[in-house]
């Protein structure tokens, strides 16, 4: 029984080694590993595939953040201006950055993917700064900045 558990653990360690090796070269190893392991495609993906998984995470997070922004209009009407800015910025992530990155990485011109991914982090930062220290979205925007930074490191491995 112990042998089986040990072998399974060994398997998981070598299963994860592509993800491990890749994530070691990013600014946030733990975040990178948890994002990639949470996707069933992660265990069998090459670096392009890992990059696409991460971009998918960016897409999901952007959608989640946009829903949060929409909900805040009613709860915090005094924040309308900043929310408008955030809405525009996050729509850019969804409609411009993500499709650009997916196309670029799938077609082997990762530098445009890098641009899209960097921009996702910029848009999140701009949205956050619009609240001038009183943001209701901080954990979401910080998350986007972190994921963007990790994804960028992975995309750079494709250059």
């Amino acid at each position: 029984m112990k042998m089986i558990v040990m072998v399974m653990m060994m398997m998981m360690m070598s299963e994860g080694s592509m993800i491990d090796q890749t994530c070691k070269q990013t600014p946030d190893f733990n975040l990178c590993v948890s994002l990639l392991n949470s996707d069933p495609r992660g265990s069998s993906a090459d670096i392009s595939g890992l990059a696409l998984i991460l971009i998918d995470k960016i897409k999901v997070l952007a959608t989640k953040t946009l829903n949060e922004i929409n909900g805040l209009y009613k709860k915090r009407p005094e924040l309308k201006q900043a929310l408008d800015q955030c809405s525009r910025r996050y729509k850019t992530i969804l409609n411009a950055d993500v499709p650009e990155a997916i196309e670029a990485i799938s077609k082997g011109v990762p530098k445009f993917g890098e641009d899209g991914v960097i921009d996702a982090g910029v848009e999140a930062s701009v949205c956050e700064e619009g609240f001038q220290g009183k943001s209701p979205l901080t954990s979401l925007t910080k998350s986007m900045q972190n994921i963007s930074s990790v994804t960028r490191a992975v995309v750079r491995m494709l250059l």
Binding site: M10, M11, S17, P27, R88, G108, F112, I118, Q132, R156
Partner: protein
């Protein structure tokens, strides 16, 4: 990646040098569409381990031990890579070099007032006399040529959005490289061999006057191939319609080259045997290379075993360009010219850094190879020469047989956020076409100059002769200052220079100095400057873009001159990239310091010392726009006086004509 290498069959491990990513046993990088039977090498072994627990345990032990040993080695190189990549990341984002936690920190802090772009600010950014499409995204210049009285320009274009994607070939024509008329798209992604992208290519004009176009297609399986196209009707000077060769693709990635590392074919040149020769950039692991092919008909090719050239650790070479330059005259040469008075330039766009690098060298036509004159500044090395030290990429030259010059085009991308690009509805411009030639005085670098025809845009001018005392910042009254052509000459007063050389306390800093490392940019004051102009500046200098010379003393007591553009205070906006660009500029004995600056809304092109060092910048002021944009001349020297003699012209718009059927019919009649 040695842990996975340990599990590869021995023969594969010995053949393949270590790569930063796992290679599949068949040596090709996996692509789900092209390799459906892709297998991870150790999955097979793990399947075996299920049945044989002991072997699995043993193999896993080896793997983790090899893994930890190689991790140390990998980490050692990773550290250097990480530091260089995080500092270049930082530089790209305009973030302070010191923030290396990898998180994006925008310029300004929490106390910066929240800033928002409005349509007035954004619409000001559109240029008046630089080439750009009416809307949406543009990138690389493609297939520039002169034919039957017209300069043709093609370009990578996204018809659907203001970001890269869905790429097709845009097209425009001009009589003078300045006044353009947009034409319908030349080529779209309508064949299986370019359905995922009609990418960059080059034109070759044959001796009989006909034209062949070679371009990269991204196939329906996302493989990069080379395709042949030609004008449907050579009697149409506008070359409106293009035909793709039915036998495409004419080239597919050769063995040893990955399917996504094969793009941007060059203009062809003649070999001694009378064949045509082209070169195509690629990479093998991290070595940037340029492959060579010969052809007689542009349909079938022989690949040479040798490379034109390759340089380790430079990454993928995009948009390779290869051409002769005269050693004795500042003129252009047809791409096929060779001889004792000729040197050859190899240029490549570095995917890793987004810099265009070139080197001067010697071409051996007998075997299609080239070597640089100075291997310490070989193509793509961080110290090697660049056409331009600012925002400038994917450049391409062509020989203009009309005026006997070689012309350089370049893609100038945006340095703002994609949200702003989406809001304003466009992204990217082209640099003003430049003549490029070997600097016959130094023999070691190229010189570039905006084409003469740009002078046709000059309207009224004002001439100034000023003595700039130390610390002076003087407004230059020229009226509106958003479309300008400035030619200037500076001279440090002899007494100041003598004093400088005599002063032992002046620290030698030339060896350590660089425009970008000098964090304070143009606000620094030293013995001899910096001095120059501040463009797109508000009256209070709350926003400004200085273009200047910085003179540093070297350890040998000789002077070293740097030419820089500081965009760090070009805008208070916190979502734009604001680097300090520049490089050393050669100044020969007896030469005065000269600069030329073209200001055109959100683009500033600066030429130092007759185009020996060039800097293109994108700037996005929020208040230094329209009538509020001013021009200043300044001298930050501590006690040197500088004389400035300059002329400033107002520049007209080029009135780039949108596409319309009427306009095209009218043009066809002329």
């Amino acid at each position: 990646m040695a842990s996975s290498e340990a599990l590869l069959p021995i023969s594969a491990r010995e053949e393949e040098p270590s790569c930063p990513y796992t290679k599949l046993p068949d040596g090709s990088r996996s692509d789900p569409e092209t390799h459906p039977r892709r297998r991870r090498p150790y999955k097979g072994l793990l399947a075996v381990s299920f049945g044989l627990l002991l072997i699995a345990f043993y193999v896993a032990l080896i793997a983790t031990q090899d893994g930890s040993r190689s991790n140390e080695a990998a980490n050692a190189t990773d550290e250097t890579e990480k530091t260089t990549s995080s500092s270049s990341r930082a530089r790209l984002a305009g973030v302070s070099e010191k923030s290396n936690d990898g998180l994006w920190k925008l310029s300004g802090g929490q106390n910066t007032p929240a800033f928002e772009w409005n349509n007035s600010m954004l619409s000001w950014q559109r240029t008046a006399f630089h080439f750009q499409p009416e809307e949406n995204w543009m990138n690389d210049p493609n297939g520039p040529l002169f034919y039957k009285g017209w300069y043709h320009f093609f370009y990578q274009y996204n018809p659907n959005a203001a970001v890269w994607g869905d790429i097709v070939w845009g097209h425009a024509v001009s009589r003078d490289l300045i006044h353009w008329v947009h034409l319908p798209l030349a080529m779209v992604a309508d064949q299986w061999y370019d359905s995922n992208g009609v990418w960059t290519g080059s034109a070759t004009i044959l001796p009989d006057g006909s034209i062949v176009m070679l371009y990269t297609g991204s196939t329906d399986k996302a493989v990069q191939v080379q395709n042949l196209a030609y004008p449907e009707d050579l009697n149409d000077p506008l070359l409106l319609k293009w035909v793709k060769f039915p036998g495409n693709p004419v080239l597919v990635p050769p063995p040893g080259i990955l399917p996504k590392d094969f793009r941007d074919p060059t203009t062809a040149w003649k070999t001694p045997e009378g064949k045509w020769r082209i070169t195509i950039g690629s990479k093998i692991n991290k070595t940037g290379i340029s492959l060579v092919y010969d052809t007689t008909d542009f349909k079938t090719y022989e690949k040479l075993d040798s490379l034109l050239h390759g340089v380790p650790n430079t990454g993928m070479w995009e948009c390779v360009d290869f051409y002769p330059v005269s050693k004795t005259a500042r003129k252009g040469l047809d791409t096929s010219v060779n001889g004792p008075d000729v040197k050859h330039i190899v240029k490549a766009s570095m995917d890793d850094t987004r810099f265009d690098h070139y080197a001067v060298g010697t071409y051996f036509e007998s075997n299609g190879t080239w070597i640089p004159d100075d291997p310490s500044i070989d193509v793509g090395m961080s110290s090697s020469l660049r056409y331009d030290y600012g925002k400038f990429y994917a450049s391409k030259t062509f020989y203009d047989q009309n005026k006997g010059r070689r012309i350089l085009w370049s893609w100038i991308g945006e340095s703002d956020s994609e949200a702003a690009d989406v809001q304003k509805g466009w992204s990217s411009v082209q640099g003003i076409p430049r003549t490029v030639a070997l600097d016959t005085k130094t023999g070691k670098n190229l010189v570039q100059s905006p084409v003469e025809e740009i002078k046709s845009l000059r309207l009224s001018s004002k001439k100034f002769d000023l003595e700039l005392s130390p610390g002076s910042v003087i407004p230059v009254d020229v009226g509106t200052a958003t479309q300008l052509d400035i030619e200037a000459e500076f001279e440090i007063k002899k007494e100041s220079l003598d004093k400088f050389f005599g002063d032992a306390s002046v620290v030698a800093e030339a060896e350590e100095f660089s425009c970008e490392k000098n964090g304070a940019g143009s606000t620094v004051r030293n013995a001899l400057g910096p001095f120059g102009f501040s463009v797109l500046a508000t009256e209070s200098l709350s926003e400004q873009t200085p273009v200047y010379f910085y003179i540093a003393k070297g350890k040998d007591s000789k002077l070293k001159t740097f030419f820089c553009t500081d965009t760090s205070r070009s805008s208070v906006a916190n979502d734009v990239i604001k680097p300090i660009y520049g490089s050393v500029v050669p100044v020969l004995k007896g030469e005065k310091l000269t600069m030329r600056i073209l200001v055109d809304h959100s683009i500033v092109e600066a030429f130092g010392q007759g185009g020996r060092t060039c800097i293109t910048s994108r700037v996005y002021p929020t208040t230094a726009i329209y009538g509020a944009a001013k021009l200043f001349v300044f001298n930050n020297a501590l006690d040197a006086t500088v004389t400035a003699s300059f002329k400033v012209w107002q520049m007209n718009s080029a009135f780039i004509h949108p596409y319309s059927e009427e306009a095209v019919r009218a043009l066809t009649r002329t």
